[in-house]
């Protein structure tokens, strides 16, 4: 004997009435729509420490990973049925839908079918819900709320739900999978009847109509005897209201979990008529908390408007859509944007589920907990953020190797979590740039973290595996040199030697095709950093050396042609030059001779960007690889009348970018600069001034003072009469020259 109760998942009224239903039926067992092989998970769900929403997650063991989710909220009718059974002498509760392994098999099939069918643009058939919307004039959420949530009586509801399910079936297209599911459910019901006697069956209203009055037949048995399955695993996972609303496992009904909570609470207290007022007051409260005006008068007006709207649309009480319209009109001044955040907060809510330790049983979870203990990080499992300072160097004062590298292993662990998408720790930027042995982390444990860990289990069965697979996936997806070189760094930080290898291989491949010098420079900088400081992570950076060589060579070959470019591109090239210069000093396996030749060529070349040329020249000067005569010759040539003044200024800018001190002590440079400026006429001076201003902006105040001293020397003004010189009245000539520059103050620096 079976009694049927058709629900809409997450419907508050169903949740409220299912208890009455069970009280009346007094079943010997309860069957619920859910994967039958996961009935074992009902027990842990019933523990007192569980905070909903929680989901049952089943996933395939092998890739491609497919998942099915069965989320449950506090107000789910299914959950109430489970609770009822427990409170009434532990009546057996079982799931009766297809096992997860069969459902996942179907999901995989469906996906491959979708990929096979090339006709993507085929017009989508209107679903039964579209038809309902057309017939009723509003969508199925509104339809349900108007017609079902307002029901008070159990019998009314049962009759209405039966009719609803029947009509839905009448207009739904045939679905093989659905037939299989229902055949299976019939089989389970039949078995349960034999085993327990009186059975209550709680399924979606749609299925109820296909189960009730359809006897279990030989066809059903044949159909369900050999189910096709894939190997799967399953677990409970904490869920959040946000996830409930964003991607519900079921088709409908969970767009507004926060609102449903309000409805359910008021239903339980017997004051369901309070729901509209509570919803609107909460919107107003949210608005006030966030600094917008929202008066009680507006709430009252909104409640009245919602009532009238419902009446106009044919509902007894306002539904969510009416309430939202009222809120927009009365509190949002007609625009949804003004109350959209409040609506999201109230309708969806921020509730996050929790499960007692041990009840979540993915292997990643176990691995995470084990490592947390091993690495002595347990104390960071708190919601308040705490800082952790790591010293990656070997601690030589301890005995065991494990504790000697404790901090390094911690760093690996945290980096691997990051790579696997678990945001447990956040890496902080350090003040001191070159202390590569030190790291600073901010650790914080929030319920979302737990959800992320469960999701990481889809990528692998341990933290390391999850990190490795996620990095691998990213590697195949990324197309730019920069992304990949960052992935190399990540793999390095995670301590994953094999990832480093595969990423490097990919890098070599891409580097051969790359033609952007700045990108190559960025990659070179990342790799050079790893090779220089990598041994602190006890990973052999040797495989990277050939790539660095390759990048270095490419840059050296491309630069002379690339340097014939516009000023903004030139600025990027100078930073690339700086990177190569650093790499060259750091790694003796690089061909320094080639680089010096490149620099000499650049600094002597007249047809490239003068900024780059000047910069190359300063690098040479810094390394002492240019003779004083050559330098003097270059300076004279660049700052002579033959060079256009703006180019001369660019050159000087590039030239002065490096070592300011070395520049200041070279008096001859300043002499030439002085005479260069003195020779300019008014117009030329104006154009040069901008770039000179920029150049000197980078000097410190002390340096500027020293430059001024240089200049006084050159102009033959001694310290004593400088005062006189400066305070003397401005002559007419000078005044007119200054006036002509006035326009420069209006200069639009946005253009530079």
């Amino acid at each position: 004997m079976a009694e049927y109760f058709g629900v809409r998942h997450f419907s508050p009224i169903c949740s409220h009435l299912v208890v009455q239903f069970l009280d009346r039926v007094k079943p010997d067992a309860v069957l619920i729509e859910g994967p039958s092989d996961l009935s074992g998970l009902i027990e842990p769900l019933m523990r007192d420490e569980v905070r909903f929403p929680v989901a049952i997650l089943a996933y395939t063991e092998t890739s491609p990973v497919k998942t099915v989710l069965y989320p449950l909220a506090q107000h789910s009718p299914e959950l109430n049925a489970m609770k009822w059974a427990r409170q009434h002498g532990d009546i057996p509760v079982e799931f009766c839908d297809l096992p997860g392994e069969a459902a996942l098999y179907h999901a995989l099939e469906e996906q491959s079918e979708k990929e096979d069918s090339s006709d993507e643009n085929a017009p989508k058939k209107p679903s039964v819900y579209d038809m309902l919307e057309k017939a009723a004039g509003h969508d199925d959420d509104v339809f349900w709320e108007y017609n079902f949530e307002q029901v008070r009586d159990l019998d009314d509801y049962l009759a209405a739900a039966k009719e609803y399910g029947r009509s839905l079936r009448e207009f739904s297209p045939e679905d093989k999978h659905n037939e299989l599911r229902e055949a299976y459910m019939r089989r389970r019901i039949n078995e349960a009847e034999k085993k327990y006697g009186r059975v209550a069956v709680i399924t979606g209203a749609f299925h109820t109509a296909g189960l009730e009055n359809v006897p279990y037949s030989a066809d059903d048995e044949k159909l369900t005897n050999r189910l096709k399955t894939v190997p799967t695993k399953a677990t409970l996972m904490p869920y959040s209201n946000y996830r409930l609303s964003a991607r519900s496992g079921y088709g409908a009904g969970a767009k507004a979990p926060g609102y449903h909570e309000i409805m359910y609470k008021n239903l339980c207290r017997g004051v369901k008529e309070n729901t509209p007022a509570e919803y609107l007051s909460r919107i107003a409260a949210f608005q006030r908390k966030n600094g917008f005006a929202a008066s009680s008068a507006e709430v009252i007006e909104a409640v009245r408007l919602a009532d009238t709207l419902a009446a106009l649309r044919g509902g007894k009480n306002p539904c969510l859509a009416d309430l939202r319209d009222a809120a927009v009109t009365c509190m949002g001044h007609g625009s949804f944007g003004e109350v959209s955040l409040a609506c999201a907060d109230v309708e969806i809510g921020t509730r996050i589920g929790e499960l007692p330790e041990g009840s979540v049983c993915t292997s990643v979870q176990d691995d995470f907990m084990r490592q947390l203990k091993e690495l002595k990080l347990d104390r960071f499992r708190t919601p308040t953020a705490q800082t952790l300072e790591l010293d990656l160097r070997e601690n030589i004062r301890v005995k065991s190797e494990k504790s000697a590298f404790l901090d390094l292993n911690r760093s690996y662990f945290l980096h691997r979590l990051l790579a696997a998408g678990v945001l447990f720790g956040e890496k902080q930027r350090r003040q001191q740039d070159n202390a590569t042995w030190a790291e600073k982390w901010e650790l914080r444990w929030v319920p979302e973290t737990e959800i992320q860990i469960v999701e990481a289990s889809l990528a692998g069965s341990t933290v390391v595996q999850a990190a490795r697979n996620t990095l691998g996936l990213k590697l195949t997806e990324s197309q730019s040199l920069k992304e990949i070189s960052q992935l190399v760094t990540s793999s390095f930080e995670c301590g994953l030697q094999d990832c480093v290898k595969s990423a490097s291989a990919r890098l070599t491949e891409l580097a051969a095709e790359c033609s952007s010098v700045p990108d190559e420079g960025a990659a070179l900088s990342e790799l050079s950093g790893i090779v220089r400081f990598g041994n602190i992570r006890r990973i052999d950076p040797e495989p990277l050396v050939p790539i660095i060589r390759q990048l270095f060579l490419r840059i050296c070959l491309q630069l002379p042609t690339e340097a014939k470019c516009a000023p903004d591109a030139a600025a990027r090239l100078t930073s690339t030059l700086a990177i190569v210069n650093d790499a060259c000093t750091a790694h003796d396996f690089l061909d320094t001779e080639r680089f010096l030749n490149l620099l000499t060529g650049l600094s002597d070349s007249d047809d490239i960007s003068m900024l780059v040329s000047g910069y190359a020249c300063s690098l040479l000067a810094e390394r002492g690889k240019i003779t004083a005569e050559k330098l003097s010759e270059l300076i004279s040539r660049r700052l002579s009348r033959g060079t256009p003044p703006s180019e001369a200024a660019d050159w000087f800018e590039g030239f002065s970018k490096r070592n300011h001190r070395a520049l200041i002590i070279r008096l001859s440079v300043w002499e030439k600069l002085c005479s260069f400026i003195a020779e300019l006429d008014g117009e030329e001076f104006k154009s040069v001034l901008i770039s000179l201003r920029r150049t000197f902006g980078e000097f410190s105040a002390n340096e500027k003072a020293d430059i001024a001293e240089n200049i006084t020397e050159i102009l033959g003004v001694s310290g004593t009469n400088a005062d006189e010189y400066i305070t003397a009245a401005v002559t007419e000539d000078e005044q007119s020259a200054i006036d002509s520059l006035d326009g420069l103050d209006d200069f639009d620096f946005g253009d530079i």
């Binding site: 007006e301 408007l305 009238t308 009446a311 009109t329």
Partner: protein, 361 residues
């Protein structure tokens, strides 16, 4: 001399529809109304009552109209906000026509509107002769609406000076006007409400105070959401206006409507309909209302001076006038649109393109 009226008010134009709705009424009617809220909705959105077909008056979001009607049922005042030409006044006229059978209690908001025009003023000859009395009182449309328990309309409320707007605040919250000269007070009967409209694009308007805004339920009317709706709107209104104005020209064919609406939508959105090409927008307001007047205009031109059929030449002339508003920038933008977009639209547009190009030269 013709005795015919140029433009009939809505309640007379659609008298048969309103009568049919009233005759077939089944739902409860709010006090002061002549039909139920649901019938008002049918009147605005269209439908069928018995044998009478109700033409849709507002083509757009049904929910917005529902909010408008529900607002008036709750005796709150209604404020319609939107860009020019989004059917604010049109909707307000038809709402009052359906609810009261009288859409003529209007105050036109201008910079010169005074507080007296909102409340009441005096017949000064009588005031001097007989002293203050109800007889010498000249009532404003709002005053009469309060007395009769009906709905008054305030057009372009944001063009009124702030003190005039403020005069509305007490009327809307107290629902009464005091006449200190007579020591009397007039209380509004049930059914009294106000529908105001305001423009978002206008320059030189007086921002509404939040005190006044709070007394209104605000509904923002959007531009027509999709191409088909906009073509429908323009077509139906042009057909109706040409009947009213007795234009001799034939109604332009569908392709002409499609062309004009396409051009307007593209210029309004600053990109082509397929989103492929960015377009420099022009300064003018290219609303559905503007498209309607453009079509009527070209019909008038062709009826009076042309072949009696709207050709590309008439359309081009009207487009030029609507899009290029004595501004060199508009002219440049229009040229750019012609060359970059319209020229590439293919055969259907080639005639119009040639005409437009000639006129814009």
């Amino acid at each position: 001399m013709s005795k015919e009226i140029l433009r009939l008010p809505a309640e007379q134009l659609y008298k048969t529809e309103i009568d049919a709705l009233i005759a077939a009424e089944k739902d409860p009617i709010p006090e002061g109304w002549q039909m139920s809220p649901r019938s008002v909705l049918t009147y605005i959105m269209g439908g069928k009552v018995g044998k009478t077909v109700i033409t849709p008056k507002y083509l757009g979001d049904r929910r917005l109209v529902e909010i408008c009607i529900a607002t008036l049922v709750t005796d709150r005042a209604l404020l319609l906000i939107g860009e020019p030409g989004t059917a604010k006044s049109w909707l307000s006229e038809h709402l009052t026509a359906a609810i009261n059978g009288n859409s003529s209690r209007v105050i036109q908001g201008t910079a010169g509107t005074t507080e007296e025009q909102i409340r009441y003023t005096w017949n000064y000859a009588m005031l001097l002769a007989n002293g203050p009395s109800f007889d010498s009182l000249v009532k404003s449309p709002i005053y009469t609406a309060m007395e009769q328990g009906a709905i008054a309309r305030v057009e372009e409320i944001s063009r009124c000076a702030s003190e005039v707007q403020d005069a509305l605040i007490s009327i809307l919250s107290e629902k009464r006007i005091s006449i200190p000269e007579l020591g009397e007070e007039v209380a509004a009967r049930r059914g009294f409400s106000v529908i105001a409209t305001a423009n978002t694009r206008d320059k030189g308007v007086n921002e509404m105070s939040s005190a006044l805004k709070r007394r209104f339920n605000i509904v923002i009317l959007p531009a027509p959401s999709d191409m088909a709706t906009e073509i429908d709107i323009v077509k139906s209104r042009v057909a109706q206006m040409s009947r009213d104005l007795k234009l001799t020209s034939k109604l332009p064919d569908d392709s002409a409507f499609e062309k004009v609406v396409t051009i307007f939508r593209e210029l309004r959105q600053g990109k082509t309909l397929d989103g492929q090409v960015k377009i420099k927008p022009t300064s003018g307001v290219l609303s559905a209302a503007e498209a309607i007047s453009l079509m009527v205009n070209s019909m008038a031109i062709s009826g009076s001076f042309g072949s009696g059929e709207v050709t590309d030449s008439e359309l081009a002339a009207a487009l030029q006038g609507a899009i290029v508003k004595d501004d060199d920038k508009d002219k440049a933008a229009w040229t750019e649109y012609l060359e970059n977009v319209m020229r590439k639209k293919g055969k259907g547009y080639s005639g119009l393109y040639a005409e437009c190009k000639e006129r814009n030269a």
